[in-house]
């Protein structure tokens, strides 16, 4: 028994119905060529459409699985902060949705400074006109309780974390420094309410996250006060 090992030579004949499969020529009563009749075209189209829809449905779960999942960095995560542990003049940094959030306990003297027109004249947006904070903190201290400042510690220029330089100084980091934040990267400056100084690259105040105060001495970052709402993704510049 000869073993047929060369598929090339065992192939079907170039013409002639006998080796090339069943003869369908009698099947089409309308006289169409069976390979190109409208019925065949329709079936091909239908099969193709079903395949495309199927492939789309099949692809969905795979793409869906790449979407972000819950967890400490999720878009609905909240972080609680106990304010009683923060001494006047002190700042702590907490991580909220993967970002640093400054929580600063401002002294009465610092609060007076925030309202001083000598300061506000040097700021780009002293009245918080740009949408860099929830509406419920659009006020002179950019916070719910004046003594506690809460802001996302990401410079609105190119994203470095500004340093906390709370003490006034005649020379350092700039002349007539009233206390605030200085960005190490390109020298942007912010006051203790996170408002940006003129004459430096950052254009916008530091963002304030949505937060609420369940008690006088605690914060819940990520959750607006009852019946208020703020979508953090709508701020102008992060």
């Amino acid at each position: 028994m000869a073993v047929q090992t060369d598929p090339q030579t065992a192939g079907p004949a170039p013409s002639g119905p006998d080796f090339s499969g069943p003869d369908f020529s009698g099947h089409d009563s309308h006289g169409h060529h069976p390979e190109s009749g409208p019925r065949r075209d329709f079936l091909t189209l239908l099969t193709g459409a079903a395949a495309v829809i199927g492939a789309g449905a099949f692809a969905f779960p795979f793409l869906d699985s790449l979407a972000p999942v819950g967890g400490p960095d999720a878009a609905d995560a909240t972080v609680d902060v106990d304010l009683s542990k923060i001494a006047p003049g002190q700042q702590i940094v907490v991580v909220w949705r993967g970002k640093p959030v400054f929580v600063v306990h401002r002294t009465p003297k610092a609060l007076l400074g925030l309202q001083d027109t000598n300061l506000t004249d040097r700021l780009r947006d002293w009245a918080s006109r740009e949408r860099q904070q929830p509406d419920y903190v659009v006020n002179w201290h950019r916070s719910i309780a004046p003594e506690y400042g809460v802001m996302v510690g990401i410079c609105t220029h190119l994203g470095c974390v500004p340093g906390y330089v709370p003490n006034p100084s005649a020379t350092d980091p700039v002349a007539n420094w009233p206390g605030g934040y200085a960005c190490p990267c390109h020298g942007s400056k912010f006051d203790l309410a996170g408002r940006v100084f003129q004459g430096a690259p950052a254009q916008y105040n530091l963002p304030v996250p949505p937060y609420s105060m369940p008690t006088r001495s605690s914060l819940r970052i990520g959750l607006s006060p009852d019946d208020l709402d703020f979508d953090f993704s709508t701020i102008r510049q992060l």
Binding site: T5, P14, P61
Partner: protein
């Protein structure tokens, strides 16, 4: 006028492409200049055409010849879902269980992806077992397909190792204790056993390091299997498929072009297979998993009943059929390994069981023995189940080691048909004629070939 590279009539010498070897690009008329341009540089179109379009396939293949394609489909699903599981999985003893929970509950559509991966393992083994028994029944392993058979067996073993390693990854109770039992089995080998187990698991006990190793092993093997499938298919396309009559193709009257005849026949099988697959994924996801594996691995408490996945059950039954630890291990491994030798154990020149009355009965008994072992592996080894597993084990080895070598001499085979075409086609078509103009078939100069035959 035309770009010399795209003109089909330009001699190859003028194109700057070496002509010393036979051209790999063999496109007939009817292909455009772009296809020709590509094909002359990378003959993918020629290759696909030769191997999956005009590829001459015996005209009498039945639906059992679908199962190789079905296994391929299941393998593709496993690899695809596996990649996406790997993206969300954490391969550490501390994080694995939680990450699998997160895949089921938090990752978008993670539950479908995981369920598809789990059902995929069962579907691939189901397809492979049918595929293998098909090859045994029709003598597909015989000359000239011995290497094809060996690559297939290699695939089966690789698939088993992969499935085992994968089962450890969720780090549930069954994962952990399954891995323990296998490590214990390896340790029980005399001499090298203990060092081998320690080397495999990266320590004296199963822990974080072991899980890392199994993860790497599982990931890499999936792709090695893909490579081995390529070897398998290359070996298949050298000899061509066998067929239910088990006689070789003698000429064009015995074959059909692969496309559209077998592409559509395979497509029907694939659709039915995917329906069964989807039913498992969406309606019966609990069928193929054990509740104990949803309890995190606890090295200080063994679950009451360690049952293997169904596809390991037959070999697990062999393991427990003998009261000796080493004996059980050797028999169990032997029950798979003996299959490698089948082409040399079978002494009959007749391929298909259709023409071997005694072998046909023996094959049916073999299927029964396999199913019995499967059932025994899922039950406690006591009473009737223990007795049945012993009988079935005995028959398994008897079949391969005694019946296969002896039957060739004892049995009188039925008369084989002269050709595939003769019993299949109506008399008008079976005899070679030159009349008529039916479907226009591509490809060249076959006519002389027939006269030579």
């Amino acid at each position: 006028m035309a770009d010399p590279l795209t003109s089909s009539t330009t001699p190859a010498a003028m194109t700057g492409i070496p002509t010393s070897r036979a051209p790999a690009s063999t496109l007939p008329d009817g292909y455009g200049p772009r296809s020709r341009w590509l094909d002359r540089r990378l003959p993918v179109i020629s290759l696909l055409r030769r191997e999956y379009v005009v590829y001459p396939t015996p005209r009498n293949l039945n639906y059992l010849w679908n199962f190789g394609a079905l296994a391929t489909v299941a393998l593709a699903m496993l690899i695809l879902t596996g990649i996406f599981l790997a993206i969300a999985y954490t391969p550490t003893a501390a994080g694995a269980f939680a990450s699998v929970e997160a895949i089921d509950r938090q990752v978008g559509s993670g539950w479908v992806i995981r369920s598809t991966h789990m059902a995929g393992a069962s579907m691939v083994f189901a397809a492979l077992y049918v595929h293998t028994f098909r090859s045994l029944y029709y003598g597909s392993y015989k000359e000239p397909r011995e290497v094809l058979w060996l690559t297939g067996m290699l695939l089966l073993v690789m698939m088993m190792v992969t499935a085992f390693a994968g089962y450890v990854l969720p780090w549930g109770q069954m994962s952990y204790w399954g891995a323990s039992v296998v490590s214990g089995a390896i340790s029980s080998l005399p001499g090298i056993g203990h060092p081998l187990a320690v080397w495999l698991q990266g320590g004296d006990t199963i822990g974080d390091v072991t899980l890392h190793r199994y993860y790497a092993l599982h990931f890499v093997l999936g792709f090695l299997i893909l490579g081995a499938v390529v070897l398998h298919v290359v070996a298949l396309h050298v000899t061509g498929s066998s067929n239910p009559l088990g006689i070789e193709v003698k000429g064009p009257q015995d074959t059909l072009p692969f496309h559209p005849y077998y592409t559509s026949k395979d497509a029907i099988g694939v659709v039915l297979f995917l329906i069964a697959f989807a039913v498992l994924v969406f309606y019966l996801p609990g069928w193929l998993t054990q509740p104990d594996n949803y309890i995190e691995a606890n090295p200080y408490s063994t679950p009451a009943d360690i049952t293997p996945e169904w596809y390991f059950a037959p070999f697990y039954a062999v393991l427990r059929a003998v009261p000796s630890q080493l004996g059980g291990l050797l028999l169990s491994a032997g029950s798979v390994l003996v299959l490698f030798a089948v082409p040399w154990l079978d002494t009959s020149p007749v391929h298909s069981a259709r023409f071997r009355p005694l072998y046909r009965i023996a094959m049916m008994l073999l299927v029964v023995a396999f199913l019995l072992l499967l059932a025994c592996g899922l039950h406690r080894p006591a009473g009737i189940w223990l007795a049945l597993s012993r009988i079935a084990t005995l028959y398994w080895f008897l079949h391969f080691l005694v019946l296969l070598p002896l039957l060739g001499g004892i049995e009188t085979p039925l008369k084989l048909p002269d050709s595939i075409g003769r019993p299949v086609l109506p008399p008008r078509q079976a005899t070679i004629s030159t009349a008529g103009a039916g479907l226009p078939m591509p490809d060249g100069a076959m006519a002389q070939r027939m006269e030579n035959d």
